[in-house]
């Protein structure tokens, strides 16, 4: 497949913290971690989804001026960024596993219309839905 979405990025408050969270707690793998002066291009990958990279980007120079970076950091910390959805085979089991690793859940697993979903946040405030499709 040559035409596809390759990278979608999140803003995070601290790239080291985000890297530890996405790799150690969620089980992602590092795809690229490249520094260029102040700039750090950091992407991770879901182990079952090698064609897609999730970027973990920090607001700040040289991409953003100080006021813009501050606004972006505030938006992330307020949970105002768009929804993120991760599909799992068994939401309750995944919830149990991730909670055991210290992931901050904001909603316990709930069954709705035959699907099961739970919610958690990354340390920065990005909100994820953990979703098990209707069988």
């Amino acid at each position: 497949m040559s035409q596809h979405v390759e990278v979608v990025g999140l803003y995070v408050r601290d790239q080291d913290e985000a890297l530890a969270f996405y790799v150690e707690k969620l089980g992602f793998r590092v795809h690229t971690d490249a520094r260029n002066g102040e700039y750090r291009w950091l992407t991770v990958q879901h182990p079952d989804q090698p064609s897609f990279q999730l970027g973990l980007f920090a607001p700040g120079p040289p991409v953003h001026d100080a006021a813009t970076a501050q606004t972006l950091r505030a938006m992330v910390a307020k949970g105002a960024m768009p929804p993120l959805v991760m599909m799992v085979d068994d939401c309750r089991a995944a919830h149990e596993r991730l909670r055991g690793r210290g992931v901050e859940f904001t909603q316990e697993p709930v069954e709705r219309y035959g699907a099961v979903d739970a919610s958690f946040r990354d340390p920065s405030g990005n909100g994820w839905k953990l979703m098990q499709a209707r069988r």
Partner: protein
């Protein structure tokens, strides 16, 4: 509206802790959330919490909780056959009368009428993931309930009067 200095920028680290209190209200909306309890979640003083929360999220914490309870009550009316009394209890109300009155003030109709209306429209909801519907259906309570009630009463008496800000 009197001119005001722009509010000071809020520290993202504080905002993250305020978000945690907001998440806790969303998760346990049926519980009591006095400001002191919320302030403890955010690790700030009660006075600081109320002011900071409002600045961060645009509504005072108790009104935020109210929108969550009304949204959940509306969902339960739509998705379950539970009696209204039970729905009032499950969404944190101790008095059916208070629930009915505030529900009408916010939703614009009684719980029974909303149940009938939501069920008629329910078949259109299928394509949005269920978990995001609740966010979409949260009432936009930008004014206090008492103010909304007062305006509603005025509108009935003087239907052509424009809303005064």
């Amino acid at each position: 509206m009197p001119s005001r200095d722009p509010p000071a920028e809020q520290d993202p680290e504080l905002l993250r802790r305020l978000l945690r209190a907001k998440d806790r209200m969303d998760a346990a909306y049926e519980e009591d959330w006095p400001v002191e309890r919320l302030a403890r979640v955010s690790h700030v003083s009660a006075a600081h919490f109320a002011r900071s929360f409002r600045q961060a999220f645009g509504v005072p914490p108790h009104r935020y909780l109210l929108t969550r309870r009304i949204e959940r009550a509306t969902a339960l009316l739509r998705d379950t056959a539970l009696p209204v009394t039970e729905i009032a209890f499950q969404t944190g109300w101790r008095s059916l009368g208070t629930f009915g009155r505030i529900f009408r003030d916010i939703a614009g109709a009684s719980p029974g009428a909303i149940r009938a209306r939501e069920r008629a429209a329910a078949h259109q909801l299928g394509r949005t993931p269920g978990c995001f519907l609740s966010a979409a259906h949260r009432p936009d309570l930008t004014i206090a309930v008492s103010e909304k009630r007062r305006r509603g009463a005025n509108a009935i008496k003087r239907p052509r009067l424009k809303e005064v800000r």
